[in-house]
Symmetry: C2
Subunit: 197 residues, 2 copies
């Protein structure tokens, strides 16, 4: 007889996360159940509890993995040799690309709110992610390519604009192609403003 599945899975935690991300992408966070995941992976309905103390913990892990992938994508897209405008455009394109390919996941990543601790890991991940943008702006400021003033405020405007567009995409108000096609203009308007000069 075929030896049945071993009692221990081997890497249940990773398998659960992988299945969860697939389900998240295909059916949305709403139809994500621990029992269903357990079924997909082929373990009992209580097995996930050994690796994630509750459902929220699994979602947090998912979000954390998302931040790492996002930070990686942003770092890969950043070319410090470029002048400010194309450099920012590339960064923006990378962020929106991630938002398009991982809409549900991104929503999860941004849904971490009133968790008291929410694991400092999460805060670190967020910091690392926005750090890429902050670095670009700080560099530009140092070189005099953009105005002086509180860097936090500049980060906010730029980050908010990007985040907002990502939100529009996730909400389905802005078709992905349109968003990508408009990246260049978006960055241009951010840098040059809307007033005539």
């Amino acid at each position: 007889m075929p030896e049945s599945r071993p009692y221990h899975h081997g890497d249940l935690r990773a398998a659960l996360l992988a299945a969860a991300e697939r389900t998240l992408r295909e059916k949305g966070v709403g139809s994500l159940s621990l029992r269903e995941l357990a079924r997909e992976v082929g373990v009992s309905h209580a097995a996930p509890g050994r690796h994630f103390k509750d459902k929220q913990t699994l979602l947090n892990a998912l979000a954390l993995a998302g931040y790492e992938r996002l930070a990686q994508a942003l770092n890969a897209a950043d070319d410090p040799a470029l002048p400010l405008e194309p450099r920012l455009t590339a960064l923006a394109r990378a962020y929106l690309g991630f938002a398009i390919d991982n809409a549900e996941l991104l929503e999860l990543m941004y849904a971490r709110k009133h968790e008291p601790d929410a694991s400092e890991q999460m805060a670190d991940a967020v910091e690392q992610t926005v750090g890429g943008l902050a670095r670009v702006l700080a560099d530009a400021q140092k070189r005099g390519e953009i105005i002086e003033g509180d860097p936090e405020e500049l980060n906010l405007v730029t980050g908010a604009a990007l985040h907002g567009v990502a939100g529009f995409i996730a909400a389905g108000w802005l078709p992905p192609e349109v968003a990508l096609a408009g990246v260049e203009d978006l960055v241009h308007h951010l840098l040059h403003g809307l007033k005539p000069r």
Copy 2:
């Protein structure tokens, strides 16, 4: 003996929506259950089904009401007599104020995505909401206060920046006071750009 509650509630639908919004504000969308609402309002667990065919339908109604309140707040805040910058600032302040006071609700409003129809009412409501912003920018463009070019693109930059800040607030990354304090700078940077001039 005190006459017992009448068999028919009178306005169960409105009572459910009111209770739902309170729960939403206090405990978040996650702890919103039809049965719990029914209990709060004092009806049986199946009564809500007479007014909302399923939970999503109730959430949609909630979101719709939110759009109406938001559009109202924005209209009230818009003073066409003002010059562009203060006019936009007032609008932004109103939007962020709404986002602060109704974070959970706003999240619900923005969560309507892959519903095929999702009721055209919703689309109308969204249109009405962003319409306020579009009007301001169109006016300004007509008066030559801002650059020419695709109005859609200008709406996008401005709307995205506002929406993004609202998202930061909802996510808990940006303390409300900081957001409100930065509104003026935000609008200023949007209009004048980040590049030195």
